[in-house]
């Protein structure tokens, strides 16, 4: 196969594992630290360096933190043109860096911004890009094996890219553990040439409004709502308060506008792995189950006894969620099973 493909390159000319650190006004998306943790192992397996790619404005601290979380080097493109994020200047900067530095592997968080960026940059590099991976590995020949659920999570497909570089993948938030911070870790920070000029950009961000950025992937307990709630979140919120749990949602509840998309669990949302996952009024489509299957204990509350969610639950109650949730909250408090004086969580 080697060399036969259109646009194929010499793989030996490419080295190092890059992680794109997604940063907005100084705040780093947690998935970037998750990727650094996972990529540290990949780089070690390949005997190569782990490089953090930091693009933004005034990002020295972000670059330093990337080193403290495992990067051997941080490449920093620091310029006002990069704040806030826009696909075209970020893509152009990345294209120049790939041409100059030849990374073998590039990993990007599967956020809306990460998917926007990855889809933009794989084309000029003629790179293979695997979407929403849940496992990463290296085969005997040093090829990246990017694994992603396919066909509604029934199958895990392994995608490889023999003749093109870099080998690129987006990875879902919450799949890997975030790399710990070690303030004593040494590493190099390198400022790279900025190749983008504001006058050549194709878009302008007029306003950026970000409020709720709760990270449900870190939660120990989750109460998730679905279509069965009919827009009334009060019973689920009461239960979440009692359990000191984060509120999450199925795609249906997000599409209906009841809950912010940052709290969506499932194939197009986040992967969560709490100790307790309570699915309230969620039917249990495979796409949703895929995002919560790693939960330790799953509880389902649904008035439809045939709802598929019961197949994926440890404990199921067939009943009206508007009665079951408040009753459970009350019972937990009465029996002293939860801290009755716990401060209610801020409402999303």
């Amino acid at each position: 196969m080697s060399g036969e493909k259109a646009g194929a390159v010499d793989p030996d000319a490419y080295s190092d594992v890059w992680v794109f650190v997604e940063e907005h006004a100084g705040d780093v998306m947690t998935v970037s630290w998750e990727l650094l943790g996972e990529a540290r192992g990949l780089a070690d397996d390949l005997g190569e360096d782990l490089v953090a790619l930091v693009i933004g404005e005034d990002v020295d601290e972000v670059a330093r933190e990337a080193v403290e979380r495992g990067a051997d080097r941080a490449l920093v493109a620091d310029d006002p043109v990069f704040e806030p994020y826009r696909a075209d200047p970020y893509g152009e900067q990345f294209r120049a860096l790939v041409e100059d530095r030849h990374p073998a592997v590039v990993l990007i968080g599967g956020t809306h911004t990460g998917r926007d960026f990855a889809g933009r940059v794989a084309v000029p590099a003629h790179a293979g890009l695997t979407a929403d991976c849940t496992e990463l590995g290296v085969d005997d020949d040093g090829l990246l094996e990017a694994r992603r659920p396919a066909f509604g999570g029934n199958v895990l497909a392994t995608i490889v890219c023999e003749d093109h570089r870099p080998q690129m993948a987006t990875v879902r938030p919450g799949v890997f553990a975030a790399a710990d911070r070690d303030p004593d870790r040494d590493g190099e920070t390198e400022q790279v040439d900025v190749v983008v000029d504001e006058r050549d950009t194709l878009s302008e961000v007029r306003e950026r409004v970000v409020g709720d950025t709760a990270d449900i992937t870190e939660a120990d307990r989750i109460v998730a709502v679905g279509g069965g709630c009919d827009g009334d979140l009060a019973p689920a919120e009461e239960l979440a308060d009692a359990l000191d749990a984060e509120l999450a949602a199925s795609r249906k509840a997000v599409d209906e506008g009841w809950v912010d998309g940052s709290r969506q669990v499932g194939q197009t949302g986040k992967t969560v792995r709490p100790e307790l996952y309570v699915a309230v009024g969620i039917s249990g489509a495979v796409q949703h189950v895929e995002g919560m299957n790693d939960s330790e204990v799953v509880v389902a509350v649904n008035d439809d006894p045939n709802a598929p969610i019961f197949e994926h639950a440890d404990y199921g109650v067939v009943g009206d969620l508007f009665e079951v949730c408040p009753a459970l909250a009350e019972r937990l408090r009465e029996d002293g099973l939860v801290d009755a004086d716990a401060e209610p969580e801020a409402k999303p």
């Binding site: 493909k5 646009g7 998306m29 696909a87 956020t111 809306h112 911004t113 998917r115 926007d116 990855a118 889809g119 933009r120 940059v121 794989a122 084309v123 790179a127 293979g128 890009l129 695997t130 979407a131 066909f151 509604g152 029934n154 199958v155 895990l156 497909a157 995608i159 490889v160 890219c161 003749d163 093109h164 194709l202 878009s203 302008e204 961000v205 007029r206 306003e207 950026r208 709720d212 997000v254 998309g261 940052s262 299957n293 790693d294 204990v297 509880v299 019961f310 994926h312 404990y315 199921g316 109650v317 009665e323 079951v324 009753a327 459970l328 019972r331 937990l332 029996d335 099973l337 939860v338």
Partner: protein, 263 residues
Amino acid sequence: MTTDPTIVVGVKQVPDDDEVRIDPDTGHLDRASAPAVLNPPDRDALEAALSLRDAAGGTVVAVTMGPPTATDVLEEAVAMGCDDAALITDRAFAGSDTWPTSLTLAAAAESLGADVFVCGEETTDSSTGQVPPGIAAHLGWAQVTYAEALEPEFDDGRLVARRDVEGGYEIVAADLPVVVAVAYGEFEPRPAGLHRKLYAETEFEPLELSAEDIGLDDGEVGIGASPTEVGGMETVEPVERERETVEDAAELADALADAGVVG
């Protein structure tokens, strides 16, 4: 300044998600088991494109890349109100991953003279979301993904969009020409009119274009130009759950205490 803009909408025929079966022996999708339907997010894209035309004039052309049977989704698009439709079909496209797929749709957009190329955020059969930014990259155009609302400022050569981001939104003004991927669930698709439906089914013939027609060489598309390969498939064993039904909240509280997750 853009008068009479051409708005091209990319649509795709996909296996019906609700009907798809998995071959128990191979673990692969049994495509023959599921009827082919219009990718649901693309219906939102059609609505977004038609609304843009309602607001700013011009024409809407639906385009799909696929086998001749994909004409069905073009008929749906025309029934919904698209002015015209094009089927991009060629054996050379077989086995295309997202890279040559975006190249093909980019070439189609250019051939059709698109000012705006609208897509759904992703397709339900592959769920990568890579094609819309890929099209923009091939063309060197601006892009807006996860668009929740659109405001044409075509007279000033711009399209303004509200874009969904983690925990909030952005207002982005993008220069024309532009690729827009719309967030699923944000544009309520209009029903197809009876008259349009009849027209689409009986009179309408889509434009048919080959790779050569849109200026592509066979070697630039298809499996040979696809950087990714499927290296293997494993069936995922379902997680074993207790699947215990409890009567009420009180019993559930006890079960959770027994399981050690509360108390």
